[in-house]
């Protein structure tokens, strides 16, 4: 298993600041400083508030098949090209702080419990779409690998390839709190709207859940690692400045 790339906090802030400038936002540093100050002041409070509201057992509303909004689910990726994964050679590595690390083929994953749900998928941009996801509840995978007692976070790595300004490739990644991972509606999905998951939606395996914003629902997952603490690099969008918790 690759360990999450570790870079210093200062480097991280520089990097995200640089990326923002590159994104062409063209705004002054004082604005960034105000945003950061407000974020630092309120995010811990917001996160506690969100965790206080959250229950691993409270299910999000599920909809009728006739309510699926197939056209409304937009595709957001960090880069323009869609990773194409060969389903035959695909392996999902699950490791980190677990008793029984595993490497699963798609066939293995399909043999594990299956759940179908029609839920509202909410994007950070404000739009939402009612979508059907089918797949393996993450909690059932966790039962297989048996997390060690000190595990608190779940790190996901995607094959989505990205390069920084100097051309070095690094992966797309995301971290969730364990409580949200054991929520019964959090799936490793391989089915969308009753069809096999399309490549642009994250085939063969993506994370899908009604309890987190879309940017937390990482596509093209190849690796899962349980961690005791939040890694230095938390998630692609989180390291840009979006909230870690992103709960609904």
């Amino acid at each position: 298993m690759h360990s999450p790339i570790r870079i210093g906090r200062r480097k991280l802030i520089q990097l995200s600041g640089l990326s923002l400038l590159l994104a062409g936002c063209g705004r002054g540093t004082w604005q960034t400083q105000i945003e950061q100050a407000l974020y630092r002041a309120s995010d811990p409070l917001n996160q506690s508030f969100e965790q206080l509201l959250f229950s691993s057992q409270r299910l999000a509303r599920e909809y009728k098949p006739s309510e699926i909004q197939a056209q409304q689910l937009l595709i957001n990726t960090a880069e323009d090209s869609t990773p194409m994964i060969d389903p035959a050679t695909y392996r999902l590595k699950v490791g980190g702080l677990v008793e029984k690390p595993v490497e699963l083929s798609l066939e293995d994953i399909r043999k594990l419990p299956y759940r179908s749900e029609i839920i509202n998928h909410v994007c950070v941009e404000g739009w939402a779409a009612i979508v059907q996801w089918g797949g393996l509840p993450l909690v059932d995978l966790l039962k297989v690998v048996q997390p060690k007692p000190e595990a608190r976070y779940v790190f996901f790595r995607s094959v989505e390839g990205l390069s920084d300004p100097s051309g070095n490739a690094y992966g797309f990644y995301e971290t969730w709190d364990l409580a949200s991972c054991v929520h019964p509606q959090t799936l490793l999905a391989y089915e969308k709207n009753n069809s096999p998951l399309p490549a642009e939606n994250g085939a063969p395996i993506r994370l899908a859940s009604p309890i987190k914003l879309g940017y937390k629902q990482i596509k093209w997952v190849t690796e899962i690692a349980l961690l005791a603490t939040l890694p230095e690099k938390v998630g692609y969008w989180i390291d840009f400045g979006y909230e870690f918790y992103g709960g609904l």
Binding site: R27, Y39, S42, L53, R61, V124, Y242, L248
Partner: protein, 200 residues
């Protein structure tokens, strides 16, 4: 105030310190919520989606979507808690009994011949109208911030789209009320009244 042999000169209006603080905090947090709200709006316009009308930069706070969210989810506490303590204050000091529009004001608006009394009644009506609009902004905002935990809010409004539209319409509603409230304040109490609400 003691009775004076030289009356007829109206005393300068005075406001309780609590009212001034509430007024200031409310005004500042509302503009912060509107500016950052429009930033979030622009990420995917409620009307027309990505192809829809985007608000110009000078109206926006936060620089980009995440920045707008940071402003919005900081000032939601300032705005919400300010409104909460206003509610407690108005209730505990029994100001609610005579602060809001009442049947005699409606009477004055409909049939009154005294223009001053009429303006005063309209002023009270507008002031009262702020309360449901501000509460609606908070309610619909909470419904979108936590649609799973506060599923009852999302369900109350039917669809996600309705929830977004209602949340958005609180901006023009608040702005319209602000304009009317300011003009009527000037009309009812001149500059002296307006100043008393902001400063001494």
């Amino acid at each position: 105030m003691t009775a004076n042999a030289m009356p007829r000169k109206a005393a300068a209006p005075k406001q309780a310190l609590a009212a001034k603080i509430f007024h200031w905090v409310n005004l500042v947090s509302l503009f912060a919520m509107m500016g950052s709200g429009l930033q979030i709006y622009n990420a995917n316009p409620v009307f027309g989606g990505r192809a829809g009308y985007h608000f110009p930069d000078f109206l926006l706070l936060g620089g980009w979507l995440a920045g707008g969210r940071h402003w919005h989810f900081f000032f939601m506490w300032v705005f919400g808690l300010n409104l909460l303590w206003y509610g407690i204050y108005v209730f505990a000091t029994r100001r609610w009994k005579n602060r809001y529009v009442a049947s005699n004001d409606i009477e004055a608006i409909r049939k009154g011949r005294n223009p001053k009394r009429r303006n005063y009644a309209i002023h009270r009506l507008i002031y009262t109208a702020f309360i449901p609009v501000l509460l609606l902004a908070l309610l619909t905002g909470l419904g979108m911030y936590k649609p799973v935990q506060f599923a009852w809010i999302a369900n109350l409004f039917g669809t996600w789209e309705t929830l977004r539209i209602v949340h958005f319409t609180t901006i023009p509603s608040v702005l319209a009320l602000m304009v009317a409230h300011s003009l009527l304040a000037l009309n009812v109490g001149d500059w002296k009244l307006v100043r008393s609400m902001f400063a001494s």
